[in-house]
Symmetry: C2
Subunit: 656 residues, 2 copies
């Protein structure tokens, strides 16, 4: 019997009530059938999350900055290995609770269309192709390559047209045309489904053109099932089905919401709405057949994960893999590749300095290593610790200020500005670790920035940090400024005033070690921005506007501070000799023209007069290692699904 | 001219308004006289606090547990050296702001009469003599031994009869008899004033017998000035003078409060009440002479600190002393001596284990190292890190639970109980780091435990931790339980179920390293409890009752879980041959009868039939190193100020 047949056989033995229970994220045990309780909710954006000790890799936005899908596949493979090890432990208890299972609600492949979105750092940035290609390998790494069993279920989320504001997500109705959806918001979903077969899709909280995503006939039936022929399961975001009546007011009762979701194909409920399925059934709103089919589909997934098998090869993975040396090394490598060098007047790599002052509220902070949806590392390296462990000279530390509370507003609060200035004066070079933290940008209810519900009101550094920057800047000491954040910040002042400027997305447990190795030249930086760094929020359309005009490198007509794809190296590269080859293939040559070995990433854009509103569009990229002076010819394939949206008459722009 | 005369000369040149301004904690500059702005507020309970990077020593209660005044003197000396280094930096800015000066509002020598008091960990515990003798050396170490200049001003606080509840401190009126005050609440103040000459005394928030402490004729004039002949200055706790009209309702206006305080000798105002001194003067409530005399006294203190001198030897202390290697080593030593071994079935020191599981929310937490009123260490060792760095075998980590939020109450929260159980099952030995943290016990407005205003409602571990304990206990693995807290906790379950039990007060930046060295036998534990560990809150009188009946080892008639002075060693000691000598001297012999070298602390109590309510009273103690088998004869002096309260006919009880 195949998994479907096994599921059919099993579900046949269930009562209606039992079947309805199995559509809940916290599916209860059915003891007579040997079905243990199973909680479907698991998170693993950048490491097994909320399940205790795990390798905490850089946040997704940082892994996107690596532009290294091969490395991301390795990370996803490590995550699924650790997840299996944990599951194998937990199942010994006879059931698996929340964050103890095999069905992962990652990756987040929403388009980071506005830098104010608090959850943007969970994504792979603003570009559809980068998002789709990174999402694809992440799914593949999670789901494994066993011919019989899935290693984990990956879930792409949030379907669809979801990227803030967090404050209105439970009631917002996004009006958007199908063209923009296909071009931007749906592109990566379709791409991942076609290329990586994710087990599941998660419906978003919001409405799209009047229909709540988790009960949308257009999204779930017309597009996902009929147009894309998707055969996986759809799970609701947590509480999203309740929102349909409580906040969207599209239905009147929970029973109606549950029926709307289930009838349209959202068959697994995170939240409590499906507890009203009995009511819905009694009212004739949903049929037993629909319930049965949903239940079969979910059990097919569980059979495919080997939950009821005794020959699943992943059952032998033991806890020794969790945070093993190989995963630590991989983590450090990904952290290194995620760091983006934005400016360097020659001060980096740091060679001459004998004394450095390490200043800033993020210098010795753990939370900025972890991002959100994280596990706990048993060992980690803050930026300060990384420098202490790697720099041969003296390291002077001053926290400098609170991340966001300004001492100038409270006469009894400690004000460390002067300490920071004194530290700077004693040093040859100042390294400032500033920016945001996950309490300042994140998910509604998870980040704690008050009325913004996790979003950013603007792109500014907090006043406390602006004050610190000015004071340290006034010392005249050369400053290496490291902005730590999950999103674009207005860094105009630092771009002018700092000797070197780096962007570090929440970098994981090895972040400090990786940063030290980059700053000290043990590693040549190779990250590139997966999002546009605008000059300020004034350059942006209203946050709640989902039209793409004026957003992202594709449609923004202004001058960004740092464009998408920007990122310097200690060496220099040239790209040339672009030739079109067979079908969508192109060849080009890349050369390391500088004096350091390093990894260069060629970004290949297409552009067409048939779409004048579109500045250009990423269609291929390749990261490659080049020794100094080395030249290589690379062959790349332009993504056909990008080309089909551009037309046949396109121009190719290769950048490195 | 001596300092007094210099102060008189300087103050003569000031206008009345200028003089009034100088009685504020944030004294403004008087440019025409070359007087820079000076903020009197500084904190240094266990390291320079709120002024950035500093050596963070164990919290005061932990240093009391060392019973090692010689070592505490060294700590205070290190603190004052770092404070001077900071001041020397800050004064280059032409003024010194809050937490940048030389007038330290430490130590806190209140009696920790009830374990529910949130600020109890700032004190030296429940015993007057231990508190007085530790306070004395702390003051000496802060104030230095230069024949001309004071290194820092030490301030003993909070005068008087102050030890919670935090929630009512601004309006509470403590009814208490003079005998209890002299015997308990005032004893250490008088002792420190007589033996160590602290520069300042801080008035408390509360009232005593109807009089607000900061405006109390009884406390400030009758007792402090007339009876004790104290000639230092009195500063108000912050906002305490405003409380006189706003919360105590003893006066009607700020001006009246300011006058009441100043006229009774509280001459320096932390807060804003003295901004109403002009009103008070205009209303005839305070004379210019009183203002002038106060101003002279404060400038005498500033001259004595060398603020206007060019020959002050402390001016040459540079920033390299901050967190220097010597201070780190001293810090580790103090942390080691502060750890109290409460039970050991022989599992410690840890020798056989190949794999240990480190479990608990305090295992890798930074906040429990720091306590409150802290600086920031640039390097620190959590308990987990300390074991990873020192243990040769495998270390498995599980956080286990949130310090106080119970996952059982929130179905979407991570529940790490099973992870902890799995970790325990893989290990030979489990080490649990549990207890409280400074957000759960601390000062009103500083600790964040809701309606308790920093106090503890009871002596219980939080439900989240009780649940974790039970689950790990059920594995049957041997558990070494480390309770981390600043106060007594009901540890009955652990005393029964753990193979070893330790109390670690908030241990400072080297806490993890120190703990690992104790657990692994590189150091023999030598701390002793400076407070009684009761069986439960049910054994205690009401929290707001200041009578001593039923409180502390001196008056508690029940059976404590662990008594004051309790603390085991890896070796065993015997004390004997107690002989009275000349005047208050006694001699006794101590012997190390076990198989490890180690430090033993003999505690000498007195007891008299003339005070039947008093169980016994500490009158001397001595910590001494003894090699295994070694025997020594020690000569100690029984404290005369204790004996005078006991009468001539007393019994001597020596314990070790």
């Amino acid at each position: 019997m195949n998994f479907h047949e096994q599921a059919v056989e099993l579900v046949k033995k269930m009562t209606l009530e039992e079947k309805m229970g199995q559509l809940r994220y916290d599916a209860p045990a059915i003891e007579k059938l040997g079905v243990p309780a199973y909680n479907w909710w698991n998170e693993g954006l950048h490491g097994v999350a909320r399940s205790g000790t795990a390798t905490v890799f850089p946040q997704a936005i940082g892994m996107a900055a690596s532009f290294d899908p091969d490395l991301l596949w390795c990370v996803a493979e490590a995550i699924s290995t650790e997840a299996r090890a944990k599951y194998n432990g937990y199942k010994q208890f006879g059931s698996t609770g929340i964050y103890q299972g095999l069905t992962y609600w990652s990756p987040n492949i929403n388009i980071f269309r506005d830098p104010r979105w608090g959850r943007g750092h969970e994504t792979y940035g603003e570009d559809p192709y980068l998002t789709g290609s990174m999402g694809r390998v992440f799914i593949e790494g999670l789901q494994g390559d066993d011919p019989t069993y899935r290693k984990l279920d990956a879930t792409i989320k949030h379907f669809a047209v979801h990227s803030g504001p967090e404050s209105t997500r439970h009631e917002a109705d996004v009006e958007i045309d199908r063209e923009t959806m296909d071009d931007t918001y749906l592109w990566a979903f379709r791409y991942c489904i076609e290329h990586a077969d994710p087990s599941a899709v998660m419906g978003a909280y919001n409405r799209v053109n009047g229909e709540p995503c988790c009960g949308s006939e257009t999204l779930l039936k017309k597009i996902l099932r009929d147009e894309w022929d998707y055969r996986g399961y759809v799970v609701s975001d947590c509480g999203a089905i309740n929102d349909i009546n409580e906040h969207h007011h599209v239905t009147f009762t929970k029973a109606e919401s549950a029926a709307l979701a289930l009838n349209n194909g959202c068959i697994l409920n995170c939240g409590f709405a499906f507890r009203s399925l009995q009511d819905a059934y009694d009212q004739g709103l949903v049929s037993e057949e629909t319930i049965t089919n949903a239940c079969v589909k979910l059990f097919e997934a569980r059979f495919r994960l080997g939950m009821f098998a005794n020959d699943c090869p992943y059952d032998s993975i033991g806890p020794e893999v969790i945070e093993c040396e190989a995963h630590r090394a991989l983590n450090r490598r990904m952290a290194e590749e995620s760091i983006v060098l934005l400016k360097n007047d020659g001060i980096l790599p740091l060679r001459e300095a004998k004394t450095i002052a390490v200043i800033g509220p993020n210098a010795d902070a753990l939370d900025v290593l972890l991002g959100n949806y994280n596990g706990y590392p048993s060992r980690y390296s803050t930026f300060l610790r990384g420098l202490q462990d790697n720099f041969d000279g003296d390291v002077i530390y001053s926290k400098g200020c609170h991340p966001f509370i300004d001492a100038a507003q409270n006469p009894w609060m400690e004000d460390l500005t002067r300490e920071a200035v004194l530290a700077a004066k004693r040093a040859d070079v100042v390294i400032m670790f500033m920016g945001l933290n996950p309490s300042m940008e994140g998910e509604e209810g998870d980040a704690y920035n008050g009325h913004n519900a996790g979003d950013k009101a603007d792109l500014q550094l907090p006043p406390s940090q602006k004050r610190l920057w000015k004071a340290v800047r006034a010392t005249g000491k050369p400053i290496i400024f490291v902005n730590v954040s999950g999103s674009a910040i207005d860094l105009r002042e630092q771009e002018k005033g700092a000797a070197a400027l780096l962007q570090c997305f929440y970098p994981g447990a090895e972040g400090g070690e990786a940063m030290a190795r980059v700053l000290l030249g043990k590693v040549n930086p190779s990250g590139k921005l997966p999002v546009t760094f605008y000059r300020s929020e004034e350059d942006l359309p209203p946050f709640d506007d989902y039209h793409m005009e004026g957003r992202t490198y594709r449609f923004f007509k202004g001058e960004p501070l740092f464009p998408f794809g920007y990122g310097l190296s200690y060496t220099s590269f040239e790209v040339g000799n672009v030739h079109r080859g067979f079908e969508n293939e192109i060849s080009l040559s890349v050369k390391n023209t500088g004096s350091y070995d390093g990894m260069g990433t060629v970004l290949v854009y297409v552009k067409s007069d048939s779409r004048p509103e579109l500045n250009k569009q990423l269609a291929a990229y390749r990261k490659t290692f080049l020794k100094k002076g080395e030249e290589k010819t690379l062959t790349l394939e332009l993504c056909p699904e990008i080309l089909e949206r551009i037309g046949e008459d396109y121009e190719i722009i290769a950048e490195i």
